[in-house]
Every structure is written in C-alpha cells, then in structure tokens.
Symmetry: C2
Subunit: 125 residues, 2 copies
C-alpha cells in the first residue's frame, strides 16, 4: 500500500490565505515522510481535489486520506465534499479513499486554539 | 480594567458549524475565569461583532480582545473585519479594543492541526 494524504482547505482570493495550510503540509511531510502529501482547495485556489488526487494516484498512491482543514462542519463539508469524494472513488477504482472529520473538531486542535487565544490576549498568566 | 475576549468566527447556515467555536469558548472561560468571553460571527449566525461587544461593554468591559477563529487571513480578515473594529472603537470610546491575528497562524495551532491530520490518517506511528 502506498499512502498519500490530501489536506483539503477552502481557498480564497488572497494567496496569503494558504500560508497556514502550507505550514501544516510541511509538518505532516516531516512527521510522515513515507507518505505523499498534497494540498487541495474547494474553490478560488488550485489544485482542486480531483486534480490533487489524480496526481497522487499517478505517482503510485493506493490509499488516499482526505483531511479537511476546516474549523467546523458546515455546508461545505456536509454537502460539497461528499460528492467530490464519491467522484474520486469512481475515477480511481482500486484506490482506497478515506474521508476524515474537520480538523477543527479534534480536541487537541480546540485546545490549541483556546490556548493561543488566551496567550494572544495576555490572559490566564 | 475589566477584560473581555471575543472569539470571532465566520458563521454558517448549519448550527453544528458553531460547535468547535463553542468548545473553544468554554476552554477560554476555564483558562481565564476573570475574563468575560463571547462568540461573534461575521455572517449567517448571531451575534454580530457589534452586538457581542455592545453586550460586553454594557456588562462593564473596559478592554476587549478580538481573536479571529479563522485558519488563515483572507479577504474576510483583511477587508471585512478592520472596519467593524473601527466602528467598535468609535461606538465605545474609552474601551480599549485589541485586534489579533488569525488563530490558524499561531504555530501551536499549526502543529496541532498537523498532528491531528497525521493521527486521523493513522500515519507516523
């Protein structure tokens, strides 16, 4: 099994929007060097999810984990993302595609956001 | 000085979108019990920023820290939020309003997102 992970973010017109996502990708690459890591975007930025996964599969991936870099689960993750993942599974039969929960719903991410907010405001000292 | 913190998020039609933000607010309250903590939203959810800050000031806040619960800095934080904060400063002269960077730009939050992505995908073990 050749592993790949796609960090799926919203996208924005401003290129600086992507900076934290690129930083997350760099850290994932460092933590999981055996795994191919790509960013993909829902809109306004490229690559789209289908293009990113197409590239990973062409490079040999047989399992792709899609991790949404969204803080919560709204319409984009409930309504827009599942059909994109269904299309991946149809386009790449034989590739195991796993869709994960929004990164912001992980307790450790919630804890880190709360700690960062408290520190930024100079509270809790 | 009476402190308050506003956690400012995007908002969505789906009420479940707010769950991680409510969890962050609960943790901030626990970490900084001397501080009044409120959520506010840019759109689609209430309260709006002005209403949230109005309530905090009415309750006695003399300093309000606005922490954007956004992953990156796109048009919403560059273009939409600064005039809202300017309006707060005009509406509440004498209240010290501090605007902070997007929570997703804090290194500890980036680290937590990367670790959560690696763990979710079962990598790096």
């Amino acid at each position: 099994m050749t592993r790949a992970i796609v960090l799926f973010a919203h996208g924005a017109r401003d290129p600086r929007w992507a900076e934290p996502f690129e930083a997350v990708a760099a850290r994932v690459r460092a933590a999981a060097p055996e795994c191919d890591v790509a960013l993909a975007f829902l809109e306004l930025m490229t690559p789209a999810l289908g293009d990113a996964v197409g590239g990973l599969v062409a490079a040999g991936a047989t399992r792709v984990d899609v991790v949404p870099l969204f803080l919560g689960t709204g319409g984009h993750l409930r309504r827009d993302l599942p059909p994109l993942v269904d299309a991946l599974r149809i386009a790449h039969a034989g590739v195991d595609v796993h869709l994960h929960a929004a990164i912001g719903e992980h307790a450790a991410v919630v804890d880190a956001m709360a700690a960062a907010a408290v520190a930024a405001a100079g509270l809790g000292e």
